[in-house]
Symmetry: D2
Subunit: 287 residues, 4 copies
């Protein structure tokens, strides 16, 4: 078996690192990478500890390790996961009519740089309107959404996500807003790309807002979806300089580049178990 990734978050107290690394050493596991963070700011509470460990399990099985680790985890009150590093995350991509992010994700999957397995592409528009590229044998689902059909459409999508065992939903410029219920259902496993440098320019037509305000830099933001639109925990952001000579259309063009690389990076970070939730913020353990 290849390497495993352990992630955990718990109230801070002395000895966590020693216990976790000792646990692994006793079982012959070899640590390949380890990162930790102690949030002393304490989001309205005590300190909180976060850790990500990649290790070679040697002869141990994931099941055995998980069973053993559960005891330790319980003692420290940990939220934790232990998953195989080499297993691509089952992912659904949702799009509307802009397909630049989808195209980019598909390409990166093909080159092997994104450890995801795209189990479905979903759009609120028919395939011809939604995507203009080859998607091979990836199933496409047209789930139209109107104010009247929204509850049913969301239920249909939840069913799809369940049937495909999706671990991640990527809103790749999907232009429909999730209901509170839907947001809660996919909390912590649904990533959206917003085409502005949040918290600036929430809502619709952010590039036009940015042009009207006369900013000198634009950006894009990948964040977890929450019921509060454009307010979810931020995973990754990037920016580009613009000038007075850039029209709103230029911003849209430049923005496409930022959007696709920010979203792809956020998906990569998530799929490699590098993103841990910390209240309304994230801890991101980069390589």
């Amino acid at each position: 078996m290849g390497p495993l990734i352990l992630t955990l978050a718990c109230p801070d107290r002395p000895g966590i690192t020693a216990r976790v690394t000792g646990f692994l050493f006793e079982r012959g596991c070899n640590i390949l990478d380890a990162q930790q963070f102690n949030d002393r700011a304490g989001n309205g509470g005590g300190d909180r500890f976060f850790m990500r460990v990649v290790f070679d399990p040697d002869g141990s099985t994931r099941e055995g390790l998980r069973a053993d680790f559960a005891t330790l985890a319980s003692e420290f009150g940990m939220d934790w996961t232990m998953v195989r590093e080499d297993r691509p995350r089952r992912t659904i991509i949702m799009v509307s009519k802009f397909d630049h992010c989808l195209v980019d994700l598909l390409y990166r999957c093909r080159t092997g740089e994104l450890p995801i397995d795209i189990v479905a592409i979903v759009s609120n528009h028919p395939r011809e309107a939604a995507i203009r590229v080859e998607i091979g044998d990836i199933p496409f689902h047209h789930i139209p959404v109107t104010p009247d059909t929204k509850p049913a459409a969301e239920a249909q999508f939840r069913t799809l996500a369940a049937e495909t065992d999706a671990e991640l939903v990527v809103l790749a410029r999907y232009m429909q807003v999730f209901s509170d219920e839907q947001s809660a259902h996919f909390a912590g496993r649904c990533i959206n790309i917003h085409h502005s440098f949040l918290p600036g320019f929430k809502g619709a037509r952010p590039y036009h807002q940015a042009h009207a305000r006369g900013v000198k830099i634009i950006g894009a933001t990948a964040h977890f979806v929450t019921a509060d639109l454009d307010e979810g925990p931020i995973i990754h952001q990037d920016v580009e300089r613009i000038t007075h000579a850039d029209s709103p259309e230029d911003l849209v063009r430049k923005g496409r580049d930022i959007e696709r690389r920010v979203l792809a990076e956020a998906v990569r970070l998530f799929a490699q178990e590098r993103v841990l939730m910390n209240g309304n913020r994230t801890v991101v353990f980069r390589g």
Copy 2:
């Protein structure tokens, strides 16, 4: 006489460039640099034309050229200026208790990279509290401000600005808000540095706001002061990446670097007549 800088803004129509460059050529002036911009977006009106020309006046005097150009300018409805390139702009710097931007501006003046002449440093705090560096023979003025004395303090500052013939007022982390009257009085010649990437995190303690929101990039914004605080036309912005491990104090430290370089660049651009107002936005002709 050294080179002159002509800047102009007017409603767009055919032939402006030909007329302006022809005007200069007929008088033996040699264009050293010229930039123009046609704002076709039309901020709620017709197209607007902007131009900056640096030229060697040959034997002509600035007074003669100005008198002649006035006729042409009138014909096109131009807002315009024609000034000597080598004349440092008379500048007042206002500070409160953070002096990193002041120190930086002083140093850049000394190296000759900022074409300004600092005619006064003003603080609402006593000198010992406001600045901790040598300021040589630059006059320091302590103008305290309380809610009760604010009108009188602002009047005192206007008098100082008039007496020193100040062309530019730089709020180098000056923590007092100008009244509407004061903002209007210094409209277009007062630059503020806001320690966030506007329009995100307006108001007080922006680094703490940024930390609380969990953004992954912070920035600073230099803008003209208007009555609407943190809403003036933006001149320059820059950013830096941060991570979950950065505390609010780290953001303050990293922010100091961004603030000082953004403010210094805005002052340089202004002093070189590279910044033209375009409604609530700016046209910035870089080199």
Copy 3:
């Protein structure tokens, strides 16, 4: 007829701008954008003047304007072009086995952001080995190259370029080095992407060189092809931060993103007549 783009370069002397803009005004043309640059450094000679003007020809024809302008151009010793803005440049893309740049260029063509018309894709490898995406009805040409067949292969490519009226050749990670003759033949109309921040790490396997040297930032460079490999005039460069934790393979992955956006930007700049040669350097008039 839509806008025309005039570009010119000539020895500097007073009055060029006035004459050029006067020429256009007299013929009823309306200048939409104009940029100029006077290289006072004088690459081993006198000053040199560069200009790019976009204008609406009103009722004039391109042929008429060109005929008239030739006289003025001759008087000033100008190298010049006058072309339609809306005409896509006929372009050949050459690849070997990495297709990330090709895929990116194809996508940008489809979105309309790159004003090029891809008239052929050429590879030294068979199609199956060279590209793994749909190329629609773009002709693919397999031109194998061995030391023995190189002259013939290059002649075959020159014939193809002539038959397709190619105005631009893009080496999109094409791994064969042009002969001196071939480089000279395509001088000024062949763009290569080198996967390093030149002049660092010339030659083969630059990411491995960068890793071995322990640099903290990597980059990519788009440049005109000359007989001196990796020494042609630079059009565009960009960079990304890396850390000690990045393996050579990580650099390759991160590099792909830099390469494709640097090459695409260089192609856009060229196709919009924004790149003028200045000895072994370039003048790039951005929007």
Copy 4:
């Protein structure tokens, strides 16, 4: 006693993290931050392990912990240090005639963001020529260097470094090249700022080289000094965009900003024990 910082490097083998963190836990120490890196590339040998741990020693003394840890360190063949986090590193700054980096380091010391104690400023020029700012009570030493006196001058400097217990020597645009002997003497504790993005433009007048080559981005590099000039292990680098319109003098001006922030960051990283040597490269544990 405040927190201690432990850094270590050794051949990799299973259990190092568990042993180190267990060692600390057994003694009641609380880990505040820990980072590790396993260099699997193996610079011409086996894997190498690097670690930095910040911990609260609780009641233990540094001396006691050091004595105990020596046994463990010996077992694993570790290069290691254990120092107080709150102790400023004793630092000598060397300058010639450019003082922008010195000024910046002095300012950052004053704001408390650089944990160094400047014990001497040394120049090969007299004080009036070398620095134009207040240095308070920091001793200034003029050590002239000519080809003939170089060995004596270097010996004089070594004596000064010994007498001041200097832990760090910063070459803040010091224009003399260390002899091989001097470089070896200060190996691993002498940081230089080179005003180019190494490995491009080694040697003299790099901004003029960069201008002549026509690059579109310039940079600066902070590196450890070795006998091979401009080839020492790189600690930090940064860059800025430039255009064809930037003269060599513009590059010098823009470069000053890059140089001072790159050098200050390298000094901060070193003083916080974040930089570990890895052959001719560095491991940099950022916060």
